[in-house]
Symmetry: C2
Subunit: 418 residues, 2 copies
């Protein structure tokens, strides 16, 4: 049996006080996933040598490849290299080349190298050095008793550069990956549990597939992975998933934002978009402009938070506000129509709701949101009863408003126009 | 010897494929710090029962308190509750109350509960339920053989609410912290390294204090912790920190958003605010309205993304746009003035910039942002050269725009009016 397990050991007190999140492991995990590998475990420990040494020994005993990040800095609390070298009985020796390189890095900035940085020029005698193209501390690669241990700095830019230049190619040589297929399906407007039900039959038909559901505030991602090539079974699998998800599927590009999909659709059709927002306070516009190039399709928006602003800026009739209330389908429709006209846009989308935590009534509970869309052909509205959590409510509302534009542009069902 | 070790076990394939970063542990670490505790280790594992069970048993054997996050969802790959219950030999039984609650959550949204969600209504017979005020899955609290195990959902909003309402108070009872003082100082507009320099002398004077710097996109939080009461030394310490931070200090309430500070200042002065945004696309308005009660002080905003919108909606003169370009101090000033007038507000703040990744020139590089403020007494602008990272640039720009309102309302230095 060949051991193939890969683990990460992330070292640093700052990770255990909550000063920093361990995003290095996220980066490493993504890069490994794309190579066809999975991380088996991530362990986060502080800088103290005792607990660090214990966690290292445990992780080493479980894994074939161990990537250690953090603790290569110049200060006394950075001791990862010393702890691992001591564990392997590998003496640290001063490397004059590394020392010269560190001194040079300081001198180009017109600073003398502080004495503390000398520490970074000591390298384990029987290990390989990993060049650091970005910073002063080199990494270390030990090959010991069937293990490969890679030690990298904790600073993300340095870690990422060294991962890409040295560690990932080495992983590819040590553990050649099987031919793997990976696909991602991004969805919006459907609960994870409903999605799981819709995919039940395809899940039952493909037992050789690894499934993952990634719920986020913007929707649920479905990811599948399967050994083998793009054979007929793989194509059937992907088609089965597309059929199961239906109109909720907005992208098959990992991490592609919904706003990017909508931007592309607007560019293809040569249309300009405007928005009118109440409870989301600008979040719809902020999300639309998250993607570069949005200026080609987005005129702008009206954050009509006060009723007076709804009337004065985009012409929502006072009697509609009075008769139906600000959170109503007629007001959502009037906001979309008014923003479209005022902005001279082809399409406008609107949001009005009770984001919470207060402001609800029996008839209109906290979490109630109306979204509207106006276009040349008329106006459409949707009533949504969402979470009473203010942040989540606003995030979901803004995503669903943008998704309404996607559905409209694709000619999907959005109901009858008013 | 009383065991006092606290660990976190974060469960989820999405953490090991890199789909999500483990920010839950970051949150837990910060909350524990405020209680006077430190996290000893964080372990991240996937959903597969075998490795999950092993990691759980190991973490349990090392710790007094173990917080497990993730794997309580409705789908088949969520198995954390099942794995731990099996480890403890604790049968899962259907809890009719929980089932009714989940069904109710769906019915208010007009949806029938999918069958898969039934799974979430099964609770371990000999454990306590942890109420979930935000979502459908309740948490679990086991007390076994000198260990307390808390199982929480992986969705951050749910995890955080349950941590605060149930787990942290329980931790306080299980491991009473020594008489500790904790203080938080929230800052905006100053780099972490500069802040550390400004606090150097006070750090040198108080050796019995634990310091933590938490850099975030909205600014850096400084947190201090010290054994003892609110004695004269503690008061001296806090005063020394306030003096060192100076005008950059906006709140001493942990997690209080800058928008809440500004909301309160506006309420106290009886003033209404409006915004005009270009590169931030609505983010300033979105942040202002993040806090409940913002409707009392916020009229609304104009997201004038296109130049035409700047001219048509808030009267930015065409020749100013032509002569100075959209990203310039005169345009920022005209946007603020125009929004103030159009909205009938007392104060208006504006943002215009080149958020990137493209659109820069030698004279106006990517990352250049102007913010403006208009009030009865005139108009102020600031030039900011920020990061070329689009997301970060927009987040920092919107925070600094809101901070300009704070500084103005407090009579702090904002330069001469134009």
């Amino acid at each position: 049996l060949t051991r193939t397990r890969i683990e990460v050991l992330a070292v640093g007190d700052e990770l255990l006080t909550g000063a920093t999140s361990d995003t290095n492991s996220t980066f490493i995990a993504r890069e490994l996933f794309a190579l066809g590998h999975s991380l088996a475990r991530v362990t986060v420990v502080g800088d103290a040598p005792g607990p660090l040494g214990e966690a290292f020994a445990e992780a080493l005993s479980r894994s074939r490849i161990l990537v250690v990040t953090g603790g290569l800095g110049p200060t006394v609390d950075d001791r990862t290299k010393e702890v691992i070298a001591a564990y392997f009985g590998d003496p640290l020796v001063l490397d004059p080349d590394v020392l010269a390189d560190i001194e040079r890095r300081f001198s180009v900035r017109g600073i003398a190298m502080p004495d503390t940085n000398r520490k970074q020029a000591y390298v384990p005698r029987s290990a390989r050095r990993i060049p650091n193209p970005v910073g002063s501390a080199p990494g270390v690669h030990w090959e010991r008793e069937g293990n490969d241990v890679f030690l990298l700095p904790g600073i993300p830019a340095e870690m990422q550069a060294m991962m890409r230049a040295t560690v990932l190619p080495a992983v590819g040589r040590i553990l050649p990956a099987p031919g793997l297929q990976v696909a991602t399906f991004r969805t919006c407007g459907v609960a994870e549990s409903v999605l799981a039900q819709r995919l039940e039959s395809v899940m039952a038909r493909f037992e050789d597939v690894t499934w993952a559901f990634y719920p986020g505030a913007g929707g649920v991602d479905v990811r599948v992975r399967r050994a083998g090539g793009t054979d007929i079974r793989w194509i059937e699998l992907c088609d089965g998933i597309r059929f199961g998800i239906g109109q909720h599927l907005y992208s098959e590009v990992p991490e592609e934002p919904l706003a990017e999909v909508v931007r592309r659709l607007l560019v293809e059709r040569g249309l300009m978009l405007a928005v009118a927002e109440s409870c989301t306070g600008g979040l719809v516009g902020a999300r639309i402009t998250e993607v570069p190039g949005s200026s080609a399709v987005f005129t702008g928006g009206f954050v009509t938070y006060a009723n007076q602003a709804k009337t004065d800026w985009i012409g929502v009739p006072e009697d509609v506000l009075k008769n139906h209330g600000a959170v109503s389908a007629p007001v959502a429709a009037a906001m979309a129509r008014g923003a479209r006209e005022r902005a001279g846009a082809d399409i406008a989308v609107s949001v009005t709701g009770i984001a919470g935590p207060t402001g609800g009534t029996a008839e209109k509970p906290v979490g109630l949101v109306y979204i509207g869309l106006a276009a040349a052909g008329g106006c459409w509205t949707r009533r949504l009863q969402l979470t009473p959590n203010r942040d989540l409510n606003r995030t979901i509302s803004s995503q669903l408003a943008i998704d309404l534009v996607r559905r409209f542009l694709l000619g999907l069902a959005v109901g009858d126009p008013s």
